[in-house]
Structure formats: structure tokens, C-alpha cells
Symmetry: C2
Subunit: 205 residues, 2 copies
């Protein structure tokens, strides 16, 4: 899996965009986290933000264009700019799962499940989600594992397997969504850290 | 994750259904493996099977109903009836990946990616895919791991983690699909066996 070039500017802690466009894009992400893509509409976005539907159409063209702009406005996971460093590999992995990015684990996982669903409709959206979400997260986990090897916390044998190991947690989103209407849960990811990833790395369970 | 009741009748080696209905359902699965759900149409199924579109509508009602009937016609993974037993845990895991079910690994994985995409549109289809595909596969991997513990090939510590461990390979379908338009590849699954699952079980890499 290719690793993305890290974004050039710091996105961490970026305050919520309170411009009029920023509020429209934030409302679009809210809707994507709340309901199926088919039920997301420019009407609803207009109603939530108090802007005219015609204005939204003039600015973004179609719902797909608006969703693409909203996803682009998310930026990248902040951990791609600064890895967590809390004293143990497990704590660092959990810190990524518990990141406040996009409203915290619960909203973020629900939003990603919605984006995953919408990605099947559009190659452009799928590529954008891969570039902005999946690949950066695989890269964050890759760096955490390599750093743990460099610090002598993990065996060097992890290096040869790091591409597969780094993909384990991002991969769980798909299965969880497929199995439960409520989408993936934070606890499922913690179980994968403790039951699969750390043991696969030879770390003490 | 709940485990499904095993199907009561043997589905393994069931010959392709050559009745007229069976051919329509098989053609529907072919189309689901070939293209996006939106591009699957009753017209195309009618053209491939030489049946009248009106006949298909009378028999199945809508495209969604036809797809549901086609998925139901797949049955269950044959390994749910008879676990592979080839002498090593790795060979048994690879045997599941290389199962000839639904035309072999490549077509089957592509078909599952298509069903995963379509599942976001319909809770009924999502539940059917979970019941007929995801949960049976998690159960097959769970039984293989428990049998390896019982045979003394794996530590008993695997038992407490088996729910997460058994979900690792089924979970990969989601990520692979999200990352590549071509869908998941057999080699990705083999890498997960060797790089993640076997090391996580404490098996020799």
C-alpha cells in the first residue's frame, strides 16, 4: 500500500471553520455521519445552515461535488503530523483510536462508515477517502510500529511484516459496518489492538 | 459476533443449478461480480439468459428482489459443513482462501466486494450477506483456531482472543475494496495469514 506524502501544513487543532462555506461543509459532514448517502440532500444542508438551496447549487454544483468539498475540508488525521508518544505502544495505538479528530471516535467512525458506503458510488470519492483517510491511517500505524522497533520495544521481524500489520486496524471499519447497522464501535478497535495487533507484533498481551 | 447455526443440508459440491431460474440467478451473480450495483440491470440479465424482461419482473419483482434471490441461491461457504484438514493450520487457512466456492478466490472476492457495495443500499441485503457470508466465515476461522488449540498446536491463550482473531481475514475484504478499484486480491489474504494471524496466534511465522 502506498504511503501518502505528509500534508505540508499543520492541520492539528485547526479550529472549526466558521465561515459561511465552512459551516455548509461541516453540516454536510454531520449529515453524512447521521444517515445513508441517498438520504443526504442539498435541501437538508440548506435548511441546517440557513442558506438558499440555489446558492449551494451555484457554489458546489451537485451533491457529489458538495460531499467531495466537505471531505477535502476534513484535512488529514492530525497524527500524521505528530505521532502520539505516551510511553507505550499500546497507549499510542489507543491514542490514535481516541483521537478528537472530527468530533472523536464515535462520530468519526460513523462518518467514515458513511463515506465508505458513498465511496462505492464514486471512484473520485473513493480515491479521496483512500488518500485522506485510509492511507494516512495505515501510515500512522506503520510509523508507530517502526518507532517501537527502533526503540527496542518490538523485534526487528516486525519490519518485514509492517505493511500488513499497519493495515489491520483500518481494515476493521469495513467488517464492523457490514455487520452492524450502528456501524463500527470504538471497543471493537481496542479489542483488535489487544487481541490481534499487539500479539502479532510479539508484544506482551 | 454471533455464530450462525450451521446449515442443515450439505451445500458442498452442489452442482450449478441448470434450471431456468438457476441460470438467471447465476447470471445475476456474474453481473454483480463484473460491475457496480447501479450498472446491474434486469435488461442485462434477460439478455444473457435469453429470457424476457417481463418474465423476470413477474418472477422476482425488482432488481433488489432478484439480487436477494441470487445471494440466497449461493448457499453457505462449504467449509462450514466440513473444515479443511490438510495437516497444518496455515494450510487449512489457505485452503479456505483458495476454496473453489463460487468460482474460486478471484471471482468470489470480487463478488463479495460487489455485494458489500450493494449492502450499503439495503438493510435486508446487508443482513443476508452477514448471515450467509461474513458470519459463516468468521465461524470457519473460529473453528480452525479452536481445533488447533485442541490439537496442541496453539496456546490456550488463543481461546480468549478467538472472536477477534477469527474476524481478521473476513475484515480484510473491506479495506482492500476501499483501496483498489480492482477489489481484494488473494495474495493480500495470504499476507494477512502469514504476517498477522499466525504470529498473533503465537504460531511460528
Amino acid at each position: 500500500m502506498d504511503t501518502p506524502a505528509p500534508p505540508s501544513q499543520k492541520k492539528r487543532g485547526r479550529p472549526r471553520d466558521l465561515t459561511r462555506d465552512g459551516m455548509v461543509l461541516a453540516a454536510t459532514l454531520d449529515l453524512l455521519a447521521e444517515r445513508a448517502y441517498e438520504q443526504v440532500s442539498l435541501d437538508e444542508v440548506a435548511a441546517r445552515t440557513g442558506r438558499a438551496k440555489t446558492t449551494l447549487y451555484r457554489r458546489w454544483g451537485t451533491k457529489d461535488d458538495l460531499v467531495l468539498a466537505a471531505v477535502r475540508s476534513m484535512g488529514y488525521p492530525p497524527e500524521i503530523d505528530e505521532l502520539p508518544d505516551r510511553g507505550s505502544l499500546r497507549d499510542d495505538l489507543i491514542a490514535v483510536i481516541d483521537s478528537p479528530w472530527l468530533g472523536g471516535a464515535s462520530r468519526r467512525l460513523t462518518l467514515f462508515a458513511g463515506l465508505s458506503a458513498a465511496s462505492h458510488r464514486s471512484a473520485t470519492l473513493r480515491d479521496m477517502v483512500a488518500t485522506q483517510v485510509t492511507q494516512p491511517y495505515v501510515e500512522v500505524y506503520r510509523r508507530l510500529l517502526i518507532r517501537a522497533v527502533e526503540r527496542g520495544l518490538l523485534s526487528t521481524s516486525v519490519v518485514d511484516r509492517v505493511a500488513s500489520l499497519a493495515a489491520v486496524i483500518p481494515a476493521m471499519s469495513g467488517l464492523s459496518f457490514a455487520q452492524t447497522p450502528a456501524g463500527p464501535r470504538r471497543d471493537d478497535f481496542v479489542s483488535i489492538v489487544d487481541d490481534v495487533l499487539l500479539p502479532a507484533c510479539g508484544a506482551a498481551p
